[in-house]
């Protein structure tokens, strides 16, 4: 019932605002889908949490270095890059580059993406350069993570 009413409302708007309004109302359609997905995700998290409880190792001991030491998975690429880059560039030592590149420059580049990519098209077929660079960056991060 509610759905039918909202549909009608949407159609009325289409007449007055032909350009923007080509869709279904936020409520209930959008919200309903969002709630369904959220229930699935919440269920999934509950199962994960019950089957694989968070771990707790031995208490911290500043005098006993364990091995291996690994960071959270989303920082692994920084470690990977640091290990990979062993080349000094002029006076800049390799370690500085290995640290700066994946953190400072990488995020700087990410922030600038919309200002570098001035191609107004959102059609994936006419954005070959951006898509290629994106795939390369993705594979790069995956490679260093691994």
């Amino acid at each position: 019932m509610a759905i039918a009413e909202n549909k009608k409302y949407g159609e009325e708007e289409k007449k007055t605002e032909p350009v923007r309004v080509r869709g279904l109302p936020f409520f209930p359609h959008f919200v309903l889908r969002e709630v369904v997905v959220m229930c699935i995700v919440a269920g999934f998290l509950l199962i994960l949490a019950s089957v694989y409880p968070a771990s707790l190792l031995k208490p911290a001991d500043p005098f006993d270095t364990p091995s291996p030491i690994y960071p959270e998975w989303y920082f692994l690429y920084v470690f990977g890059f640091l290990k990979f880059w062993i080349y000094d560039v002029g006076p800049i030592p390799a370690k500085i580059i290995g640290v700066t590149l994946p953190m400072v420059l990488w995020y700087g580049l990410l922030i600038l993406v919309p200002f570098i990519d001035r191609n107004p098209s959102t059609d994936i077929r006419t954005r070959k350069v951006a898509v290629t660079l994106g795939i390369i960056a993705l594979l790069g991060v995956l490679y260093f993570t691994y």
């Binding site: 889908r33 990410l110 994106g134």
Partner: protein, 220 residues
């Protein structure tokens, strides 16, 4: 008239609820946004965030941010507090899922070109959200004060410390001294439960406001 209707009418008469809600409720969302699951990733990240807030509040009731007590309090949560293990594990998994969802959300935005005019600034806010989310993870990793927490943070802060020019300051701010110790733990705790939540609330507010004003880009 049902009870719900009566209450709604009572509030509506006083606060003009209808006028406020109508534009939100009827605001159109593009059809393919509703049918394409890739558009759920932002909402998934947000759900994880909400779960993290709730479980985090419960954890904060038992957690003690000092080197002597941190580990014991987490152990206490895991073994004695009713549902403690579930709450902490949920916090753990929601955190990891949130980061994965944020990254996938960003990848969707990139490949769909959804950052283009007029949404450039929302992308920039998004990058700060990504930074905030991963910093949440980094600061939370130390709190259990177990071997991995301690040593991973030692290396992590070491890496941040070797960034040219600003590294020394970052390291000092994070550690609160020359090495990881009690100061570091209380700092990380404050960052994790006070500073970052405020930061992310502001950023999320901006993010959602911009999505609302600009709409979700409809094309595939």
């Amino acid at each position: 008239m049902t009870l719900g209707d009566t209450i709604y009418k009572w509030i509506d008469e006083r606060f003009k609820l209808r006028e406020l809600l109508q534009p939100i409720i009827k605001h159109p969302a593009p059809e393919n946004v509703i049918s394409n699951p890739l558009y759920c990733l932002g909402g998934t990240a947000f759900l994880c965030f909400l779960i993290l807030v709730i479980t985090g509040i419960f954890l904060a009731m038992y957690y003690k941010p000092t080197p002597l007590e941190a580990y014991k309090s987490v152990e206490h949560i895991m073994t004695e507090v009713p549902m403690g293990s579930l709450i902490r594990s949920l916090h753990h998994w929601a955190a990891n899922t949130m980061i994965a969802a944020v990254m996938l959300h960003m990848i969707r935005i990139y490949f769909m070109g959804a950052y283009k005019k007029p949404r450039e600034l929302n992308w920039v806010v998004g990058i700060f959200l990504l930074l905030t989310t991963t910093t949440f993870g980094f600061s939370g990793y130390l709190l259990p004060w177990d071997q991995l927490a301690f040593w991973a943070t030692k290396i992590g802060t070491g890496i941040a410390g070797s960034i040219p020019v600003v590294g020394g300051y970052i390291s000092l701010i994070l550690l609160g001294g020359n090495d990881i110790g009690a100061e570091t733990l209380t700092r990380f705790f404050a960052i994790h439960v006070m500073i970052l939540p405020i930061a992310i609330a502001v950023l999320l507010g901006l993010h959602f406001l911009m999505v609302r004003i600009q709409g979700i880009s409809g094309r595939l």
